[in-house]
Amino acid sequence: MALIQETDYGTPFRIIDTTVTLEIDGRPVTVPAGTSIMRAAVGLGIQVPKLCATDSVEPFGSCRLCLVEIDGRRGTPASCTTPAEAGMKVRTSSPKLSRMRRGVMELYISDHPLDCLTCAANGNCELQDMAGVVGLREVRYGYEGANHLKSEKDQSNPYFTFDASKCIVCSRCVRACEEVQGTFALTIQGRGFASVVSAGGKNFLESECVSCGACVQACPTATLMEKSVIEKGQGEHSVITTCAYCGVGCTFKAEMQGNEVVRMLPYKDGMANHGHSCVKGRFSWGYATHPDRILKPMIRAKITDPWREVTWEEAIGHAASEFQRIQAEYGRDSIGGITSSRCTDEETYLVQKMIRAAFGNNNVDTCARVCHSPTGYGLKTTLGTSAGTQHFDSVEQADVIMVIGANPTDAHPVFASHMKRRLREGARLIVVDPRRTDLVRTPHVKADYHLPLRPGTNVAVINAMAHVVVTEGLVDEPYVKERCDMAAFDGWRKFVAEERNSPEAVEEITGVPAGDLRAAARLYATGGNAAIYYGLGVTEHSQGSTMVMGMANLAMATGNIGKLGAGISPLRGQNNVQGSCDMGSFPHEFSGYRHVSDDATRHLFEAAWQVPLQGDPGLRISNMIDAAIDGTFKGMYIQGEDIVQSDPNTKHLTKGMAAMECVVVQDLFLNETASYAHVFLPGSSFLEKDGTFINAERRIGRVRKAIPPKAGLADWEITMKLSEALGYPMPYKHPSEIMDEIARLTPTFAGVSYELLDRVGSVQWPCNEKAPLGTPVMHIGGFVRGKGRFMITEFIPTDERTTDRFPLVLTTGRILSQYNVGAQTRRTENNVWHHEDVLEIHPFDAENRGINENDLVALTSREGEITLHARISERMQPGVVYTTFHHAITGANVVTTEFSDWATGCPEYKVTAVQVRPTKKLSEWQQHYRETRRRTTQIMSETGAGD
């Protein structure tokens, strides 16, 4: 293994059909028209000296190092800004060019610290490299003149420093912030000698910087430098792997010193991120070595006992014997388990296999239950497959982008940057969201239409858009006739055309001005390629599945499925939530979304697994909890999920958890669910194992082991041990063997193997004989289910109603710097941006209640009450309040209800009727939590005392 140094081509790749042939240093080269001379030279292996150019940003032509000579041209043009032309004859070196370059370098070095040996960039500094390349031997100007060497170092950001004394003002950081990230937080302040990089006149922490790391990556010197590199030095080898945060699934290079990560760098060949990153993937990996990690297995008889550290053998043996005892006493269906969307495909596949084959039932579920299960149901029903239709790059061809119930700049930042780039190029934007999310107005991006609907009225809005399409003659009739079930279409057309579905008729319900809605619908239907991107604001409703079907209806009616630039794409929350669903983690489906009642499929698995399997659906998570309260469900194996913090109605949930006789939690930390566990099995982070994750675009990416499992076993090995102890051995030697089995048993994965992934980087399923390198865009030429099926989507208001007692609607979500239940990000420096959950409330609602900024307020619903600080925000509409669920002590889910999607049971997190009032104390639940949490997480010391 060695440190992977990617080639910097100097300027971006041009996707143009026509090519030009030129000659550089006497050698012919053919490149796409529009390619810079610099990039064309790199194609020949010629590195033209450069400082201000890098291939992630457009050329700038300021450093004057990359000068070349061109036959028949006057002067020495910059090779970065000069496009290659047919017949050009270029020279990249000559005595004259050498003199000029040395002269430029002399000027740079005359105002640069000469501390190379002690500099953090030593060995990885382009300025140092260029001094060597141009043969700099002296600086005739001396070092005594005016300079910037005493400039103050900004260390405010927790992850990187800005040392202005080392800045050469090449603007790469400024351009990366603009072009790659799209935040425009940086600028060049001043002119001439006084020019300096500035974060808007503030320090980095207080500025608009989102810490994506693009500037640090672009910096050719040590001006912007990771603190981890300053502390530890450069890495000596790299491991290419996939990020374990959101569903974008960015590819990273883990730069290592032995078994220690020095830094994570986004990988340019990563097809989901193309070399970009966000604060979480780039910097927030410190949790993997946090002292809170539990590294020894533990057991206890009662959840009120302290934990006792034991050997792996004892812990596994205890868990297995308890599960066997429970089944003997209460029946085969009295236990179940939950697979993890943070673990690998191979690990989730093994958990569901163990539950179906060793437990002998289908009581397996996964966290997609509480996020995108309606996506699976809705898209399978209408289109035929439970996944998004597009690859991320498709957004580059979109003319109209409609974002519904999603906040990508916070939750899927790398894709948001990709999307914003397309918007800056001129694509039109419709945002459907109760909140004025950042995307509605962000630098150089302004939504054409923001439809600020009332929470819970999605279906009424989508039906009204469809009404406009149908009644104004905007249906793509030839497309529908050729590709869709006409009987279903006719029924749907008649339904949406009814006057009660018109924008005017639903305006009072939705709160969306009819004129805006009509205009947005017309834009979507007639603006060219129209793409829908959506999030949990669609799915986490009592009509989540209905809304997914409603969006599919609209996309089909306008011919916007089955081509580049269009489609319907869920932005999935967790890194492997798509994969965990694909792997058969739902109680009614085997891998590849095949129902357990399908005899042919079940027999296939029975033959492969050598065990009879149930043909009846098992329990969903919420059903398991209900059954636990009823006394018929007594044991649970939970891999890498924290349902006590993430799932709704905490009091109901914990009542069920406490009623069980054996709960086994496998995790990195003693999470909230572990408070109700009897066995704790220490899991492994994504850095500690091999496997694959599948992102929101169905892309299967490799996870590669960078360090050994800190507790000794990878998660797949733990599941194997448990299964063996239950009498059902699954003797895999490596996760690649598990993937081979998945490929054998799952038609959409038939062509997938580690050999393929290592060879091509990543593939998107379906990957099989028909599509050996995967399928970026689905439903081209026809739908997976045959004919596209329009579904009638009647708007049915939620039963969670506001009243005088609970007049406000609470909607919950997440923010950029924290992730899900916060188990990972709370154990990083990200807390500097978000150390507590706060309640966002509109000034009008705050004033009515006498609430000021940062006041402690009580948030009360029919289910419970919590206390948190108020943040007064005009992002909210009056009548709607918002909070996050990242911090356990807040207990956001104490107030959420059990209302859920009618089809899938996905909780209605987005609509809870609440009241808010000023308070002076923690809620009763929070006080109880503080008292009990310490007790339930005690670990017995070697002397036997609770510690």
Partner: protein
């Protein structure tokens, strides 16, 4: 599951399919319950219907009857 929650969940399914012609709606409700409800939940629903099925949507009552006559999945 509390009976009132079960009734609510079953009725939600019926309300979605109620937009379709009766036979299609009935098949939709019955299929959904058979495909997604676990044995204990179906049993609870059947027993509730046997005791009168108070509060259940007509489509659910009919679907339970139809499921009783269907062979097991």
């Amino acid at each position: 599951m509390k009976a009132e929650d079960m009734v609510h969940n079953a009725n939600q399914i019926a309300l979605f399919f109620a937009s379709y012609p009766h036979d299609e709606a009935l098949a939709g409700v019955a299929d959904h319950i058979q495909k997604f409800w676990e044995r204990r939940m179906r049993q609870q629903l059947e027993e509730y219907v046997a005791q009168g099925g108070g509060g259940l949507h007509e489509l659910v009552l009919e679907a339970v009857k139809q499921l009783r006559e269907r062979p097991a999945a």
